[in-house]
């Protein structure tokens, strides 16, 4: 799997990206979006909305569900991005296994453009874009978590509209944490580096992350009440403006090893 991750090309995903910070072990979108299964056995249902760079005609809306059986994890999601002229609909599936010390997963996504109304006949025509990726994480100590995610190792059909490369990261701490992320170079750039911190003041959790190429930042806030978690995230870019993400998740945890 490590070899597959290293060979991964620039990847396309983010159809199911929610408002959680990077490297979170509890992110409901981790398995669908990054092939990183949650450490805890959970049953989740989540919905999110993303407005990219303030463009009303470029929004992503997604819903997803996830479940577990012993160490096995699975997730299913549906998302839609953009208005019909430019946009697409995605169906995602994630499957993996995890313990409290390590986890690995696979993800797959099928996209279909929205430039024509859906019909039964069209559902069986070619033109879809398909991608599959993999990810893994491991606890290197009591509170040190390392991960690698290549959301798109294999592709077929129409090219994905969004590009994201192989990502490597290390996170120190649990709810009060700091992390570093490295993104592999893409055509025309030399990759990207990110540094983030997270603090919890129950029931709130706040986090911030700085990225380069170009220099920019993200901030997030989430609040949990019982099984419900509401989160918001803002990515600020010096030229493009701001991307705003909102998510609402319901999660019921159960121990993977009772």
């Amino acid at each position: 799997m490590l070899a597959a991750l290293l060979l991964a090309r620039a990847a396309a995903a983010q159809d199911f990206s929610g408002a959680s910070p990077a490297g979170s072990t509890r992110a409901p979108d981790g398995l669908l979006d990054r092939a990183l299964p949650p450490a805890m056995a959970t049953i989740t249902a989540a919905a999110s909305q993303t407005r990219w760079w303030g463009l009303p005609d470029l929004e992503t809306r997604s819903v997803s569900v996830g479940g577990s059986f012993h160490s096995w994890r699975a997730a299913l999601g549906l998302s839609q991005t953009g208005e019909p002229e430019l946009g697409w609909t995605s169906l995602g599936l994630g499957f993996g296994a995890a313990s409290e010390r390590a986890g690995a997963g696979l993800r797959a996504c099928v996209r279909r453009d929205r430039d024509a109304p859906w019909s039964v006949a069209r559902a069986f025509t070619t033109g879809d874009g398909v991608e599959a990726g993999a990810g893994a994480w491991i606890m290197a100590g009591d509170a040190v978590r390392a991960w690698a995610s290549a959301p798109q190792v294999w592709t077929s059909g129409a090219s994905a509209p969004l590009v994201r490369p192989l990502e490597l990261g290390i996170r120190v701490g649990d709810v009060d944490a700091a992390w570093v992320r490295l993104l592999a170079p893409r055509a025309g750039d030399d990759g990207e580096r990110a540094l983030g911190v997270s603090l919890q003041v129950a029931p709130l959790q706040v986090w911030a992350e700085a990225r380069d190429a170009p220099l920019r930042g993200s901030v997030g806030l989430s609040a949990a009440v019982a099984a419900l978690r509401v989160a918001a995230r803002i990515d600020a870019h010096p030229v493009l403006g701001e991307t705003v993400r909102l998510s609402l998740a319901w999660a019921r945890e159960r121990r993977s090893h009772p």
Partner: protein, 538 residues
Amino acid sequence: MSALSLVVAVALNCAPAGHPFVTEVYYDAPGDDTGQEFVELWNDSDSTRVLTGLRLQAGDGAGPGRWTTKWTGGPGDAVKPHSRFVIGGAAVSPRPDVVLTLDLQNGPDGFRLLWPDGATEVVGWGALEFAEYYCGAPAPDVPGGSSLARIPDRASTGSNAGDFHPAEPTPGFANQRSVDATLLRHRSALEPEQPSPGGSATLEVVLVNAGATAWGVDDAALRVTSELLGAPVSLNAPAVAPGETTRVSIPLAVLREGRGAFAASVHLVGDEASANDADTLLARVGAGPLQVAEIQFHPAAAEGEWVEVRNTLHAPLALEGFKLGDHAGAGGSIEAGPPLAADSLAVLAQDPTALRMAYPALDGTRVRRVSPWAALNNSDDATGLADQVVLAETDGVPVDRVGYSASGIAAGVTLERAGDTWRPSPTAGGTPLAPPRPVEPVAGGFRADPRRLRTDGETVNFAWELPWGAAKVTLELYDMEGHRQRRLAGPVDSGVHGERPVTLDALAPGLYLAVLRAESADGTFTRVTPLRVDGTRP
């Protein structure tokens, strides 16, 4: 010279020995030839030659034997040693020795001299069919305004084609002089074309050494006189070798406002021809009475191109006294009509009917047709300019000249003068016969068409509206992750409305963000629009 070579030379000579011979003929003057034609003879001997009984006959090359006697030498007609004898019309200057209307044909034709002793000399030009009208081979037919001159003056090649060549008319003077400084006519230019009152400019003249003798520095002098100058300007001319041409810049200072003529002349000791020593340039110092106010060079509808002008005088102005054109010059005549009132606007139109249909409220008396209309260019050349709008008086005196760039200007948007600057009009379709309207802040917009590119290399037309009348605009492309991919255009000047076609080649499939960044003195402005390129990544 041996006897044999003498015999050969005489046999090859088109002019009979012992007689004056033809050195120049001028048969095609610009416009009406009447009174301007002449034939010049030269007596190259040391004794006076009597012309009594000599007949000059014009030949019509259209058929054989068509000779008409134009002149016969009288008892008193003679030509002194080493002198010239001109037979020509009343308009020839200096006055010919014999004044008459020759009525020579413009070719293929010829004429001949019949001497009382039976000797004959014939000169023919053009593609003559019958051998009686030329000697050896006919000389070339010359363009209007040029004479057919024997060069050098003693040329004797045995052929009209070898002896005679097109030249500036020089009646009574040598065709190739020993000492002759010449200013080429209609070649002088002023830089800048319309200098400011009290300012300076450079008059460029073209100086030619048309003689066979070189002159050195300080041998020749140039002089410029004009009512636009406080005093005549003189300077030494550079050294010029025989046959060489050089451009000389003459600095002019403290220019007086108005229209007038710069008369340039060259003075060289021993100059054998004074008629070609001067050139005159009509010019204007300061603003003209008519000012270009607005330019529609790429109409979006069918109203045709038009140019709005303003009468800057405090008195009515007759528009038909002006001409309009493009970078090639003001060649379009303006149709006559009522004088344009003081400080008023008029529209000079390619198609006044179509323009009035597009703008029914226009005052028809102030919309004038220009013909021929010089189509104004819609795209910039390598200099960064698309074209020029040139206004001049009918005699050529400059009035106004405006160069413009079409870069970033959407179809249908006019360029208008706002004070001392030019800007794209904030009013769609422009403001014919109305002053520029103030720029009203607009919400601003940025669009791409098409937004979805089916293939790599497709052209996308970007269009925008800005909240300011003038700004520098840059177009860039980012990917969805916020990484800058490339600069698409700019920075370019833009008004309120702008557009720019961009070909997106070598672009990987995916979703991109096209970014408009505008900067002006009033702030910055950024807009983003998504683009999608279809395809399959390799």
